[in-house]
Symmetry: C2
Subunit: 558 residues, 2 copies
């Protein structure tokens, strides 16, 4: 694959069509489209002449991620292109990339090879400003909170019990732990604080779960940002600023329309963390896509144990969605890593390792079936994969009774023939029967919801709550938050809470060290380890390679 | 005037035209226009089929500001509308509002009454995201700097001698003085720090003085963000990230096209502070407007002692502009305040106070003449002004030999007949001879440049440098920065450095307490008092009144 040009080179060489052409082909009436530059647009769902959401939803998830890379976004884009090539009316719903990681390690996050959404440089940089609007709303809230404390604190907010931080869409290690309000009585009230990255903001999660602008305003009002000196939760509505925060988000909440290299319409909108949040694009984008297309291809962060479970139990529940199929992306390389092979040796054929690692894929497949949804395995082909390995894996899937296909959407593109077989399987699954169900009912206690997830999905024997977590369970009960669903924050690399345990471990316990009530988003985060909510930059950040040429064209995005 | 609807009500009731119509009428070829929503657009100057800049520049400045309000932006908009009404091909170039003050005190900053730029809500909120891009570039730089220190600090940067801060477009008092990098060896290197508001960022000043994207990249590279342990300046180019910062600004640098209520095209672009920066919209916007219109009406921050002087000696010098006329906005109310009347008594006629205060206007008029440019006095009418007061002021201007007109662009609009007389005077001044000159030559020492400004413009006897300022003058000499122009940071309320001394004081000295070299923007800031670079919120912030209605329409912007 090293003979292929870079993602940016492929993207810039692609024929890109004016966004009004893409919109027209997707059935979007002109007065529902607001252009943002030549190749980006916002869709106003309230002006859209289209029926209520009825399109079938295909969720692209994956086996447990490894440093070998699975290509979930690339598969999402390529699969949709292949479905469109087969004549289906299809639309993609994807998350927006976060700028911080783009400047740090990743370089970009809009698919890869010949399965990308365009314009890749603009989507990876500021796009239509949604994340900036969310950053502004988040930081306006905190400026208003600290100002309230400074101006007399009539709400009796305890500065030592704040549960909400400021954010920047930046990887900025130095802001993780800070002290603010220094400088004397005219500069504020000193307190310990920190910044998170914007994708970790609860406002991002609220934004992605709101059903419309009225629901957005209500959810914003329900955000708990801290506690009073007598430990009563204090909400945005108590402060009276849910209106101002909604005003700051009124344009951002409209989904963004772009196109793939093959011209398939894509709504790229919102992007919450997949650990302390649910890791899916906005519900408004998914539902808007369902009004316009027969099949909507969307994805969720991390492996199916995290992303798919949260999609089913949080997003699908709020949106009243019933996913028709779940694509589980797997690669020969990643399965060999799950079987114990080091990253440096992945290019060597190793059937034994593949056979040892396939248990990881197996557990994810069985988990998908627990939601009553048909799994389809997408084997994302890498050039180092041997025919023998691919054949073995296809035979294994056949023996398991799971539809599976090898896809080369990276090298050949979904617009080419790289995803035809996969698309046919997915189309078949979508046309078939569907008995979608949630894993747990909201009536269960938070403790039992966590136990259900951990035993049914992770394969754990049980769950162990730390003393602080037990205390927090009691608080949740007392504050009336028990009926909220659970959002697990666990390492994506293992079914256990220990990133080093690969494959499909048995005989383990999940340790819940703390619980974070996100009353605006409407879920309780269960923390099972250290979760990094403000990444750092590496020794040689991607930013050092970035530039513009004399014509203002981007350089160094990959 | 209280019978008039609010600015937001007037703005929402106005007939607003699609931005492509405004662009076409302004002579902008379609492929140079990029739409941002229905009523905003970005102009790509490199794609514009228009001759080099040749339009005449009218600078709108003012007497010394008072809490009574002068209406400089309102006059700028109204004057342009009146010039258009008289048949001139005219374009406006204005600064973008900062979000922080919108949420705090001001509510909005896009003119007022019937002289506004539209869509006022979007311009006042995120607009096309330029300030967010500048915030990102600024904070990417600081994340990269702190990461460099953390990863081994090969540049030998002294964390105690940083001269650059992170920014937010927010009024956030609690971030003025902070400590970052706490939490131990894996979280960074602790140091004292603080956030400024985005308009105070040197990147904002760089953005507004760059002549094109290549010049932008070079200026960004020249920014000094701190010093090494052996006190050598460290620049963005030393860190090697001027390319990444330029990439983050590549869309923002294109000027934004909007329209007035009367349909006059306006480029609203950039907005640096008028104290520690030069306080004018981007040079690229002004020059783009000069390619499209015969007359460009633009403004500069604060009174003519600060805004006009900086326009002439910094922006006009870099851009090779020769302003053809300077409008000095004055009001009867503000002149009476300059004459010693308290704000509460301004609605009572008081000829004696007017006569006592007019010396302030007189000094500003004489100052404008020192640049070889014709001043025109715009008396911005308020409903409390008596006919006797207005007549006296017109007669005073006539006796001084200065063209002057009463304008009611707020209540009647420049699109109505509120600014016809003013427009005629300005058109006459523009058609007349022009002998523009800078106040000082760049060959003078920084000390002598400051002395020239304070003696010639402020009317001071001389200048007194603090011990640190004298030390900084020596540093500036040693580092080879002496040929840069000076950017005075002085209170806008007085010709002196004491905000309480109104009128036209004599027999005073200006105290320079420190000098800040802005080597990217290309000027040396002379601080003559405390300058607030991160505002706070008031006890009852404007945000508390803001909301959206059920249809997503803005509420509470004023």
């Amino acid at each position: 694959m090293s003979t292929l040009p870079s993602d940016l080179e492929i993207a810039r060489a692609a024929r890109i069509r004016p966004i009004e052409e893409i919109a027209a082909a997707a059935g979007i009436n002109p007065d529902a489209l607001e252009q943002y530059g030549r190749y980006k647009g916002k869709i106003d769902p309230t002006r859209l002449d289209a029926p209520p959401p009825a399109g079938k939803v295909v969720l692209v998830s994956a086996m447990s991620p490894t440093p070998a890379g699975e290509g979930k976004s690339t598969t999402t884009v390529g699969l949709a292109d292949s479905l469109a090539r087969a004549g289906h009316k299809v639309m993609i719903a994807l998350r927006e990339p976060s700028l911080g990681p783009v400047l740090g390690m990743k370089g970009g996050a809009t698919g890869g090879g010949y399965s990308q959404v365009l314009p890749m440089d603009e989507i990876n940089l500021h796009f239509t400003g949604d994340f900036h609007a969310i950053t502004s709303a988040n930081n306006a809230l905190m400026a208003l909170v600290d100002n309230h404390i400074y101006q007399g604190n009539t709400l009796n907010i305890d500065p030592r019990r704040m549960t909400f931080k400021r954010v920047l869409d930046m990887n900025d290690r130095a802001l993780r732990e800070i002290v603010i309000g220094l400088g004397g009585p005219s500069q504020g009230v000193p307190r310990q604080d920190g910044f998170d990255i914007t994708v970790a903001s609860e406002i991002m999660a609220v934004f992605c779960l709101a059903t419309d602008i009225t629901d957005l305003r209500e959810r914003l009002g329900r955000i708990t940002f801290g506690y009073t000196y007598d430990r009563t939760p204090v909400t945005v509505a108590d402060l009276g600023v849910q209106g101002a925060l909604t005003l700051l988000l009124k344009e951002a909440i409209k989904p963004n329309l772009v196109q793939t290299i093959a011209g398939t319409p894509a709504l790229v909108h919102g992007g919450p963390f997949a650990n302390i949040a649910h890791g899916c694009n906005s519900l408004i984008a998914t539902q808007t896509a369902r009004r316009l297309a027969d099949i909507v291809v969307t994805e969720a962060g991390f492996g199916a144990d995290l992303g798919a479970e949260k999609f089913m139990d949080i997003k699908a529940r709020i949106g009243g969605l019933a996913p028709s199929a779940v694509v589980v992306v797997a690669t020969v390389r990643a399965l060999k890593m799950q079987g114990g092979v080091a990253k440096a040796r992945l290019t060597q054929p190793d059937l034994a390792a593949l056979e040892a690692g396939v248990v990881n894929l197996q557990r994810h497949i069985h988990n998908v079936e627990k939601f009553g949804v048909t799994p389809v395995v997408a084997i994302n082909r890498f050039s180092s994969d041997s025919a023998e390995e691919l054949d073995w894996l296809l035979a294994w899937c056949a023996a398991e009774g799971v539809p599976a296909a090898v896809a080369d959407v990276w090298g050949r593109g979904g617009g080419g023939d790289g995803g035809d077989e996969l698309a046919a399987l997915v189309a078949g699954a979508v046309a078939g029967p569907n008995s979608f169900r949630h894993l747990y009912s909201l009536g269960l206690s938070v403790e039992d919801k966590i136990r259900t997830i951990v035993q049914e999905i992770y394969g754990a024997d049980g769950v162990d709550f730390s003393v602080p977590a037990l205390k927090r369970l009691a608080d949740i009960e007392r504050n009336g938050w028990s009926s909220l669903p659970v959002c697990m924050a666990k390492t994506q690399y293992s079914f256990t809470d220990d990133a080093s345990r690969l494959g499909a471990p048995k005989g383990f316990t999940i340790h819940v060290r703390d619980l974070l009530p996100k009353t605006g988003a409407g879920f309780i985060v269960a923390l099972t380890g250290a979760v990094m909510t403000m990444p750092g930059l590496p020794a040689v950040p991607a930013a050092l390679r970035m530039d513009v040429d004399a014509d203002g064209n981007p350089v160094g995005l990959t």
